[in-house]
């Protein structure tokens, strides 16, 4: 038995060894390693510090996109396009003091299409040389600047870069682009985009498919050698029409997936396109919000995932305090650990390695972070409303001295997959009732629902008002949220008992399908400036008018306005609180 175990252990080690050797023999790894090796050994100017750390990142990307408008493909060339870029990180000093967290020039270099070792190394050579001279200059200047300030000794004790166990890992090559590429999507994109043709008042519309497949390499002087695959496809259906009052009524549908085959089927996409058309037409006729509102609001579907992403995606990372300059604009959540952040019924967990949920792939999952550190399977960020932990990378702070594995760029962190759960839940079908109940408790005649609309920068273009007496819904525009921020989540009321995955660009949110938040403030949108409507009549409407009536659409009479004078005011129904 023991012999068997030993044998299998040996074969496992052999397999691992073979994999690592294969990775080391990879063209890109070889080129990066060779250039890195001579630079870390020999790059030095007289009387100037030498680099103690160099890492090279290389991204080899194939992308392809296709765009259709009004039943036609408008992309002149839809073939795949390959790009290779690299970036150099070089540090002077030592792990304790190198000021890594203060500087990042963000520069990258474009590598040749052809896998030519000399040429790759020449480009890396020049960039490394540039990075060394600049970093050494910055290091000396910052050390000099440090002499004129008094720094809290505890901060001064912190290392600037934490040490890691360098990984040698091959997580896979670039996923292949299907032989047919995205060509086979042409007929469907044409068909979807042709749905807008029957609505000549919709003057902008398109269906766009973009596929990106890449492999990312990291080679460092610490011994890390990593390759990981990255892939994402995005299908966007968007449309816009000029409203009668000059506003641009814009609707968009985004579907992010990790592989093109995960995209919804034709029926679902057609429904999405028809939904856009329906909402645009409804919004053109919608009443305007008037007055103000403070009370419960039900956020449904994508709206809720957008809200959660907007609140937490970029805020729950550690921030290192500068030892050179005062910083009064950054919120240091590290100082709030153990404090209540959101309602006690809510918990947030980072699940960076979660590849699939509910039968769908997550776009945010990763097995190794930007710095080459493996993340944990999960990390509780907020438990029962209390902040428990933060996302971090290789920059130590007082409470996070070890690398966390959440680096997503230079001093940017990502949970990859963020899961929000609620203790207080109700069946999805009862959420509207719960909303009405909550509104009635506050004596409000109306409540509001933000339904499946993109909430970006804390604002949504339309919502539904629900009459608490009749339960009748009405679509409204012309409003804005005020004071909608992470603190709003302290006024959590109840969430649907079913969770769902929402994919965004290299980020995923798993959250209840809907949620009621109390004390949401709404005000009438008070912008006094709007674009003038287009003066000349819509050419498609003109054409339609001349070619006889259509069964689908009856054009409004063409407006005849003088130059830039005010457009005639259309009487609209208004809505009061």
């Amino acid at each position: 038995m023991l012999k068997k175990i030993l044998l299998s252990a040996c074969s496992f080690a052999l397999v691992l060894g073979a994999g690592a050797q294969e990775l080391r023999d990879n063209f890109y790894v070889k080129v990066l390693s060779e250039e890195l090796d001579r630079n870390i050994r020999r790059l030095r100017l007289p009387d100037l510090g030498k680099p103690f750390f160099i890492s090279y990142k290389l991204r080899n990307t194939v992308s392809q996109s296709l765009r259709a408008e009004r039943g036609r493909i408008v992309t002149p060339f839809s073939g795949p396009s390959e790009t290779k870029t690299a970036s150099v990180k070089l540090l002077v000093g030592d792990y304790h003091r190198n000021f890594d967290y203060l500087f990042n020039d963000g520069s990258y270099i474009v590598l040749p299409d052809e896998n030519n070792a000399d040429e790759f190394r020449r480009v890396l050579w020049l960039e490394t040389d540039r990075a060394y001279k600049k970093t050494a200059q910055q290091y000396n200047a910052t050390m000099a600047a440090l002499k004129r300030v008094t720094v809290d000794p505890k901060e001064l004790e912190l290392h600037d870069l934490s040490r890691i166990r360098a990984e040698v890992k091959d997580l896979g090559e670039r996923p292949p682009i299907p032989r047919a590429g995205i060509e086979r999507w042409k007929p469907l994109l044409e068909k979807l985009s042709a749905l807008f043709v029957a609505y000549p008042q919709i003057t902008t519309s398109s269906c766009h498919l973009a596929v990106t497949h890449a492999e990312e390499y990291l080679v460092s002087s610490e011994g890390a050698i990593i390759r990981r695959p990255v892939s994402q496809a995005l299908l966007t259906i968007s449309a816009a029409m000029p409203g009668d009052d000059g506003t641009n009524i814009f609707e968009t549908y985004d579907e992010y997936v990790t592989r093109i085959d995960d995209l919804p089927d034709a029926t679902a996409l057609e429904a999405a396109a028809r939904g856009i058309i329906k909402r645009i037409l409804e919004r053109d006729q919608a009443s305007k919000f008037e007055g103000a509102y403070l009370g419960p609001v039900l956020f449904e579907g994508e709206s809720l995932s957008n809200l959660i992403s907007g609140f937490f995606r970029y805020s729950l990372g550690v921030n290192r305090k500068s030892i050179l300059y005062p910083d009064n604009s950054t919120t240091f959540y590290e100082d709030k650990l153990g404090q209540k952040l959101v309602a006690a019924d809510l918990s947030l967990t980072a699940l960076p390695r979660l590849k699939a949920y509910g039968g769908r792939h997550t776009t945010g999952a990763f097995d190794i972070d930007y710095d080459g550190v493996e993340p944990p399977d999960s990390l509780v960020l907020v438990r029962n409303g209390v902040l428990k932990s933060l996302l971090n990378g290789r920059t130590p702070t007082r409470k996070f001295q070890e690398p966390g594995g959440f680096a997503y760029g230079e001093r940017a962190y990502s949970a990859g997959v963020l899961k929000l759960t609620a203790d207080k839940v109700a069946p999805l079908k009862d959420m509207k009732k719960e909303l009405v109940k909550a509104a009635k408790e506050e004596g409000l005649p109306y409540a509001y629902i933000v339904r499946n609309v993109n909430v970006s920068y804390g604002q949504a273009p339309y919502l539904y008002r629900i009459d608490t007496a009749t339960l009748k819904e009405e679509l409204l525009t012309g409003f804005k949220f005020t004071n909608l921020n992470m603190r709003s989540m302290r006024r959590f009321v109840i969430a649907a008992n079913q969770l769902r995955l929402w994919n965004q660009s290299f980020y995923s949110v798993i959250c209840p399908q809907s949620m009621i938040i109390g004390e949401i403030e709404l005000e009438a949108e008070n912008s006094v400036v709007k674009a003038k409507p287009i003066i000349v009549t819509n050419p498609l409407l003109d054409k339609k008018a001349h070619s006889g009536p259509s069964g689908v659409f009856h054009p409004r009479p063409a407006h005849r306005r003088t130059s830039l004078e005010a457009a005639p005011v259309k009487t609209r129904r208004t809505s009061k609180k």
């Binding site: 020999r42 060339f77 795949p80 790009t83 299409d113 020449r122 020049l126 902008t204 050419p539």
Partner: protein, 559 residues
Amino acid sequence: MIFNLRLRLAAIGLTCIIQPLPAQDLLMTTLTKELNREFGQLKKADDRLYYMSYRVDDITTYNIRTSFGAVSGIDSSRYRIFSPSVRLGSYQLDNTHNAGFGQFPGTIPVVNDEDIIALAVWKNTDNAYKNAVQAYEQVLTNKKVKAAEEDSAADFSAAAKVVYHDPPLLYAALRPDVDALVKNLVAYSALLKANPDLLAGVANIEFKIIRKYFTDTDGSSIIENSTSTWQSVYSITKASDGMELPLFRMYYAYEPQGLPSRDSVLRDIKEMSTTLTALRTAPVADPFVGPAILSGRASGVFFHEIFGHRLEGKRMKSDFDGHTFKNKIGSPVLPSFLSITLDPTLKNVGNTEVNGFYRYDDEGVPAQKVTAVEDGILRSFLMTRTPINGSNGSNGHARTAPGGIPESRQSNLIVKATTSKTAAELKELLRKEARKQGHEYGYYFEDVQGGFTSIGRTMPNAFNVMPVEVYKVFADGSPDQLVRGVDLIGTPLSMFRRIVAADNTVETFNGMCGSGSGWVPVSASSPAIFVDLIETQKKSKSNERPPVLPRPDLDDASH
């Protein structure tokens, strides 16, 4: 939209852009129809509107880039830039009055669909109209609050209606032999790699196919095709003092087949590579005032910068322009042995294909040869449809980059000398003049990378020609010495007087000229000239040390 050809070259070629021939005419039909519809409705709404035009540049490009013998990239793109022009007011005074900026170009999808094209045109025209209204109000206000301008000519003039349609482009037939071009470019840049002194060595090609559309409310309808090929070879080295030393070789032809042979380009590159090595250790030249010879190419750039830009009529409408020659028609401005023409109707100067050819300018006016200087006497300016006092009517020199407002721009500039000398005689003149002025040497400017000039009134009206290959020519007949770090500077009027002689060999500099209306293709052809007094200054330079480590392919320690 950029498409990487390398991956799909064999598989699909460029089938996507090979449109059926009638489809190319659909764009013009739709533009004209939409122009008339827009003009009709806008005119009813605003009777100040008096003229509109639409321009579309339908551009296809092929790019191949190589570096030190490796293929850096191969791609192709196709796009359409839409430039509407809207004029409010009257021919005498309109919204374009002294406006160099304010054009808001749009794009039109590359698709043969009348509705998609019409929608794009409609949205962009509205934007252009609203901008025109705002600009016109500003012009009227300026007239009220500011003193009368020096130039009282009208803002626009009538032009004859033109209908000219080039045949539809046969894109498939124009598709270059990418494989053959790649092979050549790889060989060119690989040759540079052989020189250990060089930090970079690239050889690129850009082949452009353009179909230009112009239609206006006067009834003109023009479709003009053109192609251009730029092959460039570039390399750079660095002196130990940090000075970056680049050299270029540029080759222009209408189509790739017209480029010089592979052997002749390889010879050029070999010579360039040798010069670069020599430049690394060449002495830095000190500022100098004395005699010099400008080679034909250097002289072409010199005349383009210093003289040509001062012939551009439209800019003279502005009170901010230097008006160097504005009131000098009929007066001597150059030595009497020199004449200058600008001729966009030429496709070749001698055996060289030139970059400034076109049939119609960007205001729909036929291209015309302009004799700017005849035997030293100023005869004419380069005119658009915007007159200036003393010069009326366009001579077909309204030009712009796609999306810009047409300005007076140069085309093919040709300098001719009625009396000329051989190159050796010119050099002897230089030596003699150096001796006379008490100098050990004069300068020979062999090649330039370009130049610039100020033509306004705020800054000194100076020019700077940037040579990249300069030699000291010693008065005592010692061998010429390569030097580095020299810029040729001066002020135009004093410089023109110092041109003493020209040689009998015309050289051409093909290039792109950047000015108010963007980058336009131009050429400048000239004999070498001898100037008895020029001024040089030190070139600005980097103080970055050369790379610490040797180039990787030359680093024995790393292999």
